[in-house]
């Protein structure tokens, strides 16, 4: 955002540390996932959120368990940031019965209502229309719950985006539309598929505020998210946040990245928000080296326990094919 952010509330030290914890939890979880994929223990396609940690980390700091998120195939970082427990997450991505979806949904459809992870969809754009439904329910319930709809830059070109932002605005829904603009939709460059230089400008067409934010700057991210979430809780309606970032592992793990310019990925990685933010916390005396190392160790232990749990868990029994089609089990 070019305009100064100084008039927006700033995150205090504890908040800044909490954002870091969430970022680190994402990054460690991602790293372990990649290891397990290399070991052949996860056989499903993996859409890594590595590089995009700041966005959900800053947002999740502002959310309660009963605030909701609707996210996408590239969404595990959104869930980990929201403090979804890792055991059922890992069991799910390994296709085990103790998975949050009993192994039936897999990584692309992770769901955990207790922590507000309501929908994970593999259809580009589809997180948004459904998020509006949760927003409508909040109005009916008379609560101050908000719903975050996560999606990518590519998704901003599909019809569901348009219909959702329009409805949310007309109905003044407590929904925040969070676009992770990582510069690519699969292998297609942002500007080759998108007719506007800043997706946030589309907010004008829906009479709602829209901002382009540095999605790799935890403080700026938090400031804009705070404003958007406060507006939503106050009944002032939706906001569109375009968060500029980069995906370090390409579209799909194993991506050859040939569609990128030479050096583009390296430059992004050199600007990795995680170590930069770590250094900032140390420099500003918000945390000590030891504190951050302890944090890391605790997170790694948590991830490892989740992996062990998932490995131990059984595969789902065959009659799961007849369950959950409808509320009542269908006959064989």
């Amino acid at each position: 955002m070019t305009e100064t952010t100084s008039n927006r509330a700033s995150p205090d030290a504890a908040t800044q540390l909490d954002i870091y914890r969430r970022m680190l939890r994402i990054e460690r979880n991602d790293d372990f996932t990649q290891q397990q994929i290399r070991r052949g223990r996860i056989t499903a396609p993996y859409y890594s959120g590595r590089g995009q940690e700041c966005i959900p980390a800053a947002i999740s700091n502002l959310l309660d368990d009963d605030d909701k998120i609707c996210t996408i195939y590239r969404g595990i970082h959104d869930m980990v940031a929201k403090d979804m427990p890792l055991k059922p997450l890992w069991a799910e991505i390994m296709g085990k019965v103790d998975g949050t979806c009993k192994g039936k949904g897999g990584p692309m459809h992770l769901t955990h209502p207790e922590t507000g992870v309501m929908v994970t969809t593999g259809i580009v754009g589809s997180s948004m229309p459904i998020a509006n439904g949760f927003g409508w329910a909040s109005l009916l319930d008379g609560t101050k719950q908000v719903t975050i709809a996560y999606f990518g830059d590519g998704a901003s070109n599909i019809g569901a985006f348009h219909e959702s932002l329009n409805l949310a605005s007309v109905w003044k829904l407590p929904v925040i539309f969070v676009c992770a603009n990582n510069g690519y939709a699969e292998h297609t460059r942002f500007q080759d598929g998108t007719s506007v230089d800043q997706i946030s400008k589309r907010a004008i067409g829906y009479g709602m505020p829209g901002y382009t934010v540095n999605g790799n700057d935890p403080v700026e991210m938090w400031q804009y998210a705070n404003e958007a979430i406060s507006r939503a809780r106050a009944g002032e309606g939706p906001t569109l946040l375009e968060c500029k970032t980069f995906r370090f592992c390409g579209h799909l793990l194993g991506d050859d990245n040939k569609y990128m310019s030479p050096g583009e990925l390296d430059a992004a990685k050199a600007d990795d928000p995680l170590p930069k933010y770590r250094q900032k916390l140390l420099d500003e005396g918000i945390a000590t080296e030891a504190q951050l190392e302890d944090m890391k160790a605790a997170i790694e232990a948590e991830v490892q326990q989740a992996i062990d749990f998932a490995v131990e868990s059984e595969f789902p029994p065959m009659d799961e094919l007849r369950r959950d089609v409808f509320a009542k089990e269908i006959s064989a």
Binding site: G105, P113, M118, S126, I130, E163, S164, W171
Partner: protein, 335 residues
């Protein structure tokens, strides 16, 4: 159960469904409704089925929407997952094509994909049917698509009492239901019990008992089957007529028992014959009643083309009473 003990009243499908909605809204504060023009300010829906609801239950529970079916379905799905029981109107069945993702990839699958954590107790009301010269994009019967899609129930009532009873059940059903209306089933005069209560989904109704052939139909087409009854009688054919009411899951037991009894089965629907709902019924019957039928299972449905505009073509596109008579005669002549 004999009908003379039940107090009946004159009504039609539109009033019956409207009554069901009013009762459901009254009884359960979780019932909500949305769709284009559904509020009273906009006339209570294009067919008036929603009349009175927004006035009585407020603009937050009963919402007119922009013309944006993906957003209608999405809002319904999210609200359903959050504990509400939305009734979403997709004005015409042909417009489900702009929100199939929401219906098929989401509403129908979220329970399964979430391992039972999510539920989507949602009713999609939609209208269709040829006969009013609305031509190629406003009259298709695509219920077969939804029958083939796992996780969504398909209800297609014929008579007012069934329309009310099935709507009451559909709203309380814990799973998504598509509920199909037609001009005929909404506006043909009829009667229903004064205290019509819920009718279970998945149960067919033997409308006319008979011995020579079982005729299965539903929706507007059912009226055209009933119009064939007199001719069939004159031709000496005693037809057992079954109103399927729910197309998926369909009532195999009732249909197969009847077909076994009569030895002949004819399925008649307005939907296209090719790869249509009748194919599933015929395929099931030939399997379950192999060697027990006196004739092949007959199927009547629309020809393989779009719904034509010109009145005479449209008449010929629809399966008419005379077609039913001719096919029943052909099958009963077969042995």
């Amino acid at each position: 159960m004999s009908t003379d003990t039940i107090e009946m009243k004159k009504t039609n499908g539109q009033q019956a469904i409207n009554e069901a909605l009013h009762e459901a809204f009254e009884a359960d504060p979780k019932v909500i409704l949305l769709g284009e023009d559904c509020g009273d300010k906009e006339g209570g829906g294009v067919t008036g089925v929603c009349k009175g609801l927004s006035t009585k239950f407020g603009d937050l529970r009963v919402r007119s929407t922009p013309i944006a079916e993906q957003s209608i379905m999405g809002a319904a799905i999210g609200a359903a997952m959050a504990g509400y029981k939305p009734v979403a109107e997709i004005m015409l069945m042909n417009f489900t094509t702009v929100c199939m993702d929401m219906i098929v990839n989401h509403a129908a699958k979220l329970r399964f994909m979430s391992g039972g954590q999510s539920q989507v107790p949602l009713v999609i009301r939609t209208l269709t049917g040829a006969g009013n010269q609305t031509a190629g994009q406003h009259a298709d019967c695509y219920e077969a698509w939804f029958c083939h899609t796992a996780g969504i129930k398909v209800v297609f009532p014929t008579f007012p009492g069934d329309a009310k009873g099935l709507m009451l059940s559909a709203i309380q059903d814990p799973d998504p239901v598509i509920f199909i209306e037609t001009g005929m089933t909404l506006f043909a005069p009829g009667e229903m019990p004064v205290n019509q209560g819920p009718i279970p989904l998945g149960v067919a109704n033997v409308v006319v008992p008979g011995n020579d052939i079982t005729i299965v139909s539903y929706g507007a087409q059912m009226y055209r089957v009933m119009m064939a009854m007199e001719e069939l009688g004159k031709a000496g054919i005693s037809a057992e007529v079954i109103d399927l009411r729910t197309i998926s899951p369909w009532d195999r037991e009732t249909v197969l028992a009847s077909a076994e009894k009569t030895g002949r089965l004819l399925v008649v629907h307005e939907a296209g014959r090719n790869f249509g709902p009748g194919a599933e019924i015929a395929a099931t019957a030939q399997e379950e009643l192999f060697g027990k039928l006196k004739a092949p299972v007959g199927r009547l449905g629309a020809p393989y083309c779009a719904v034509p505009f010109a009145k005479k073509l449209e008449d010929s596109y629809l399966v008419q009473p005379a077609d039913v008579v001719a096919e029943a005669q052909r099958l009963t002549a077969m042995g």
